[in-house]
């Protein structure tokens, strides 16, 4: 019941809101209310899933095997909740500074609905449908702001991601061909008996599709021009979730086979993202290149695999999404506490205790030690040092430079919003047990075969 509401509520609200003029404050407030309600439902769902185990609903009361399965396991609900929280923060931010385009509230709510559906589905093709819905909303959202560069960025973003989506679709066709099924559970069971050549080809197709979303090293070129809070904090989660769900959940053998390649690609992403982030002066672009590096860590963790590696991957994605939301929203503000909140985010990206990023980095170190690789530990240290450098370059640029020190302060609600995000990152670092527990439950859900 809760599961169906979580998918339907933002979807219906979004369809209604798209028809209204979003520049009116009341419509924006309605959008915030709809996304907020989705967060609440997902929160309840997470509590229920953690208490009672995986929830399943077959849509339309069809017999199992015919109807599309919706399923909430710890991994799915965690990612859903995380992404919708980031969407909520970004929507509140826009509402406070004033929404300038009429479609924005509706699109944001639809994006929240699509993300929820995407994480909660147990069907490969249904995943594609929600995936396209989420991407279509984000294509339109990339143009938000209406400046020339945003328009070009949106064009590049759309073209590249459409290509990624169609590669995904071709891989879905391949899955149907070799397994004769689209339900994730059945696909996983049948995948073991499939010709290894076909399986590795299909797995590579999925890997390319999700790497494009995530902006991993060889697929990253669209990313720096198009990044903003919603994209990096919420939409990029699709890539991580897809790699976890499809890689560790459906193609575990192929993942093991390609582990070294994944770790190498992840390592290159970490170094490349870090070095370019140091070299850029622009806050948004620095954060975008930083996102490439952070995605690299997640890939390394997935490559290491096993309970420790997957826990690290989930935990790192959660922390990274919160960091990015905080930094993107906080970077442009001025006034009391804002610099402090930004510094919390910066320290968190670099992995300095007691911020949440420290817990993420700690799990990463644990994963590299389990993998028994000195090179990985060195990589982590170098990556962290690079992130410390680029974060404080931006800090200097934003908060210390003379001509940037405006006398005006940003509106109090905005500063409060960033303050709350900052406190969240700090609290997650000071009291990491719940986060760790959820991450390890999510990793277990993948490993035990209760996928979907």
């Amino acid at each position: 019941m809760l599961l169906s509401i979580a998918v339907l509520l933002p979807w219906v609200a979004g369809v209604l809101l798209v028809g209204l003029d979003g520049r009116r404050r009341v419509v924006g407030a309605l959008a915030v209310a709809a996304v907020g309600a989705t967060v609440a439902v997902l929160g309840l769902l997470l509590a229920k899933v953690l208490a009672d185990g995986t929830q399943t609903v077959v849509t339309g009361n069809w017999p199992a095997g015919v109807g599309i399965v919706l399923r909430a396991d710890p991994l799915a609900v965690t990612f859903g909740l995380l992404s919708v929280v980031v969407v909520l923060a970004a929507t509140v931010h826009e509402l406070i500074i004033g929404i300038s385009e009429r479609t924005f509230p509706g699109l944001v709510v639809l994006l929240a609905g699509a993300l929820t559906g995407l994480f909660l589905t147990g069907d490969v093709f249904n995943f594609y449908v929600f995936f396209e819905l989420a991407m279509t909303a984000s294509y339109a959202l990339t143009t938000y702001g209406g400046q020339r560069r945003q328009l070009q960025a949106a064009l590049l973003f759309t073209a590249v991601n459409l290509l990624g989506s169609f590669i995904f679709l071709i891989s879905v066709a391949g899955v149907y061909r070799v397994t004769g099924s689209l339900a994730m559970d059945a696909v996983r069971t049948h995948m073991a008996g499939v010709d290894p050549n076909a399986a590795i080809l299909i797995a590579t197709g999925f890997f390319v599709a999700f790497s494009v979303k995530l902006g991993l090293f060889p697929f990253h070129f669209w990313l720096p021009t198009a990044y903003a809070a919603i994209l990096s904090g919420a939409v990029a989660n699709i890539g991580t979730y897809g790699l976890l769900r499809f890689g560790a959940g459906i193609f575990p053998d192929q993942l093991r086979l390609a582990a070294v390649a994944l770790i190498v690609l992840g390592a290159v992403s970490v170094i490349y993202g870090g070095v370019l982030a140091v070299a850029r002066g622009d806050t948004a672009e620095m954060l975008a290149y930083s996102a490439i590096g952070q995605a690299g860590y997640v890939l390394v963790a997935i490559g290491v695999g096993g309970p420790v590696g997957l826990t690290a991957a989930v935990l790192y994605s959660i922390v990274n999404a919160l960091n990015k939301a905080l930094l993107f929203l906080g970077g442009a503000l001025r006034g009391t506490f804002v610099a402090g909140a930004f510094a919390i985010g910066a320290f968190s990206v670099a992995g300095v205790p007691p911020m949440a990023g420290f817990v993420g980095k700690l799990e990463m170190f644990r994963a590299s030690i389990v993998a028994g690789s000195v090179a990985l530990v060195v990589l982590l240290i170098v990556g962290s040092a690079l992130s410390l450098i680029y974060m404080f370059q931006v800090y200097q640029h934003q908060f210390w430079r003379g001509d940037q020190l405006a006398t005006w302060a940003s509106p109090l609600p905005l500063r409060l919003l960033v303050g709350i995000l900052g406190l969240l990152v700090l609290a997650a670092g000071l009291w990491p047990e719940p986060l760790l527990a959820i991450s390890s439950r999510a990793a277990d859900a993948l490993l035990l075969g209760r996928i979907g």
Partner: protein
Amino acid sequence: MILALALTAAFLFGSGAYLLLKRDLIRVVAGVMLISQSALVTIIGSSLSRGDAPIAVQPGQTVSDPLPQALALTALVIGLATVALLLALVHRVIVVLHTAERDELAAGEAAHEAALEEQRQADLDEAR
């Protein structure tokens, strides 16, 4: 999958990829369209069984798998919507920037790079 369908899908994908690399934005859109068609052909081909009727089956005959046809229809609609959105974006770019050539768009990017360089210099001066 039948060889003819596989070849068609490969040809569509190849032509699409070639067009994607063109400078003209309209051709890029055409490239994306061709690749979406390639995905559709792959879906249809993934389950095609020779000799089975898709609709109006005679009693006693086997029916062709209906699922991929449903998938292809769904994917067709999604593809139409996304390509329409992409075309709208290209139209907006042409209206705002008066060009459909990627080179000229890249010139705007270069100007942005130069502005960034000035920013970095300012940061350095401040640090000294």
